[in-house]
């Protein structure tokens, strides 16, 4: 039976490093809860639940990438950041990862801090910085929104992958014979292509939501609701 696990398994990173990232992740998520509460109102709370559920679903959909025998799947950081903002978005990804580890045996429970740091904290932070920047400089059109989503998603995936490489450098359990660059290379190459898939899925989803309910796209809200973003009109 082929394995469907997609997150860091137990034993891949040593205990102390995994625990240290557990502390980092917990601290980051605490900040996200405090800041996210300011965003969470009666409208955003159910939307954020939906975003988490949707990301869980799409993460199951491994798509083939260029090299034979390798697949990729959505991480969801940019999607969550665009739809519900960075703070709540990071919490959405964290909930998905916790459910996957506790209920679906995917990703070691002891490794959760590593995964949350990469996919909920780093990916969402990188994505949101790019979203804030690109929505300022790109035209306020459907194309502008799509390009923003695509670029934020693609870059965030590659940076998150490099997050794992750093973790492996700090606490990887296998002796790579000094060949960390090899691991970095394969991670970067595969995630460049996964990033394209991530970008297409994110852009399609965000544009669809923006057409149906532009008020539910956090990144399109008025400046009052998202301080980092300059005035951006809705996309119709």
């Amino acid at each position: 039976m082929e394995t469907l696990a997609m997150h860091i398994s137990n034993g891949i990173i040593n205990g102390p490093v995994a625990a240290a990232f557990g502390v980092i992740a917990l601290a980051a998520l605490t900040v996200c809860v405090r800041r996210g509460r300011l965003d969470l109102d009666d409208r955003l709370a159910p939307m954020a639940g939906l975003v988490a559920a949707f990301i869980f679903a799409v993460q199951m959909l491994n798509f083939p990438i260029f090299t034979a025998g390798v697949s990729g799947h959505l991480l969801g950081g940019a999607l969550a950041a665009m739809l519900v903002g960075p703070w709540v978005g990071a919490l959405c990804i964290a909930v998905v990862l916790v459910v996957q580890a506790l209920v679906f045996g995917d990703g070691g429970v002891a490794m959760l801090g590593l995964s949350i740091t990469n996919m909920a904290v780093i990916a969402v932070a990188v994505a949101y910085l790019l979203i804030a920047l690109l929505l300022r400089v790109l035209p306020r059109t459907t194309t502008g929104l799509a390009v923003t989503a695509f670029v934020a998603a693609s870059v965030s995936v590659v940076v998150a992958a490099m997050g794992f490489v750093v973790q492996y450098w700090l606490g990887g359990t296998a002796d790579l014979g000094g060949n960390l660059a090899g691991l970095a290379g394969t991670m970067a190459a595969s995630h460049l292509f996964i990033g394209i898939g991530e970008g297409l899925i994110t852009a399609t989803t965000v544009v669809t939501v923006a057409k149906v309910r532009p008020d539910l796209v956090y990144a399109l809200r008025k400046p009052a609701a998202s301080a980092t973003i300059a005035t951006v009109g809705g996309v119709r």
Partner: protein, 132 residues
């Protein structure tokens, strides 16, 4: 209720993706897994047969459980097994995330979407109790 029709519609899409489309997902290891398998040889079922790679250090999962690897333990029909596990996962994730977000949300007296920023609209009397 416009809000809820969007949520219900979105959930239906997620259920379809996880319940049906998931069966057409690529069975190959993802970018992370395949990078960790670099250096090892695999048989057709994806089991390590030789060589040396980081994935060999892998240890047992702490919990496992009946839904391990996105399937229902003991259900032989793979289509049903993956699909049902996916649907359960979507509903569980929505319940956990939606429930938690609903509990910690900012309580407002009225619905005022554009009346000032979120910080100004925060009602410390009703929502700041658990912030310490």
């Amino acid at each position: 209720m416009r809000k809820w029709s969007f949520i219900v519609g979105g959930l239906l899409v997620a259920v379809l993706l996880a319940g049906v489309v998931s069966n057409f997902a690529s069975p190959h290891p993802d970018g992370l897994d395949s990078s960790l398998l670099e250096g090892c040889t695999l048989d057709t079922r994806g089991e390590i047969t030789g060589g040396s790679c980081p994935a060999q250090q892998e240890q047992e999962h702490e919990i496992g459980g009946p839904l391990t690897d996105y399937g229902i333990a003991g259900l032989d029909n793979e289509f049903l097994s993956t699909g049902l596990a996916g649907v359960l996962g979507v509903l569980l994730t929505f319940a956990v995330a939606g429930g938690a977000f609903w509990l910690v949300r900012r309580r407002e007296a009225g619905y005022a979407p554009k009346a000032g920023g979120p910080r100004d609209a925060d009602q410390p009397g009703t929502s700041a109790t658990s912030q310490g």
